[in-house]
């Protein structure tokens, strides 16, 4: 067997070369290139996802560096999407990268159409709900994740099949205070999002659908809660 960068994948019986090949034409859009996005993007790239789209409007700031592992002190002030693209090229030349230097909104979200799976790595509730709603409308599978202090939660949503955020949460605070983020929390959570994307494409294992994973790194607890689709939710009316 030829030893290339995916050799250890080929040795996994239910993954192998056949599943690896499926990733070559897999297109994943990562919305937000911050803490969640950094680790998700790095693992999507090293694992051979053929095309990665990155949406972010921000520049690298010194307060990003303890958790946003795509960036180094020499990147301060640079556009995140441009630094991320360069980083991916260094990691894996097989990956095609498309960057979007804007904030996703109701006027530009048609970029989602060109992707197979969306990763919500945004840092505010308005964007998370927007991604939920447009993914439901366009039937795009996606991974939600959010972090706070030592904690995070994540779930995978397959529109029309599994619970969306609006099925589960009926009263959501719109104001968003900065409570701080412990450096490793978005890293581990973004890796789970990348894992879900790869599992979706390859069909291996069980997706995190209709289940919410709560991660508590303060007490090192991982807890899965089962959640139920709401038959009256907007996601059922599409």
């Amino acid at each position: 067997m030829i030893k290339d960068r995916y050799f250890k994948h080929y040795l996994i019986p239910n993954f192998g070369r056949e599943k690896q090949e499926l990733l070559k034409d897999f297109k994943v859009l990562v919305v937000g290139a911050g803490g969640l996005g950094s680790s998700a993007i790095i693992y999507l790239a090293t694992n051979g996802v053929g095309k990665i789209g990155i949406v972010d409007f921000d520049n690298v700031d010194i307060t990003n560096l303890h958790r946003q592992i795509l960036y180094s002190p020499s990147d301060l002030g640079k556009l995140k999407v441009e630094v991320a693209k360069e980083k991916i090229k260094n990691l894996n030349l097989d990956v095609n990268v498309e960057i979007f230097n804007f904030k996703l909104n109701k006027k530009n979200y048609d970029i989602l159409e060109n992707y197979d799976f969306i990763i919500d790595a945004t840092d505010n509730i308005e964007s998370k709900l927007l991604i939920n709603d447009i993914c439901i409308e366009h039937k795009k599978p996606f991974s939600y994740a959010g972090v706070n202090r030592f904690f995070s939660s994540t779930t995978t949503i397959i529109p029309g099949k599994s619970s969306c955020l609006r099925c589960i949460f009926k009263k959501i605070k719109k104001e968003h205070k900065d409570f701080g983020v412990f450096g490793t929390v978005p890293g581990i959570t973004g890796i789970i999002q990348a894992t879900e994307a790869i599992k979706f494409r390859t069909g291996v294992g069980e997706l995190l659908t209709d289940r919410f994973l709560f991660i508590d790194l303060l007490n090192m607890k991982f807890r899965i809660s089962k959640v139920n689709p709401d038959k009256n939710c907007m996601c059922r009316k599409n």
Binding site: D123, N124, I125, G146, V147, R149, I168, I172, F212
Partner: protein
């Protein structure tokens, strides 16, 4: 009285309601929660009136907004 919150046994005041539990968990600071008591989802409109009883198993699902 003793109840279980996310699998952890906790002592809470008699006649506690769901809102009391959520306020006690404020260090987590979610933007939204989903609450189940003994496996049944509780509507958010009832968080202030739903009385908990000894032995209840409460499950709280958290939504966070940062990234």
């Amino acid at each position: 009285m003793k109840v279980k919150i996310n699998d952890e046994l906790k002592e809470i005041a008699e006649n506690s309601k769901i809102i009391d539990i959520l306020e006690a968990e404020e260090i987590i600071e979610p933007v939204a929660v989903d609450v189940f008591v003994n496996g049944e989802k509780v509507n958010f409109e009832d968080y202030e009136s739903f009385k908990l009883k000894e032995g209840d198993e409460i499950e709280i699902v958290y939504l966070f907004a940062s990234g």
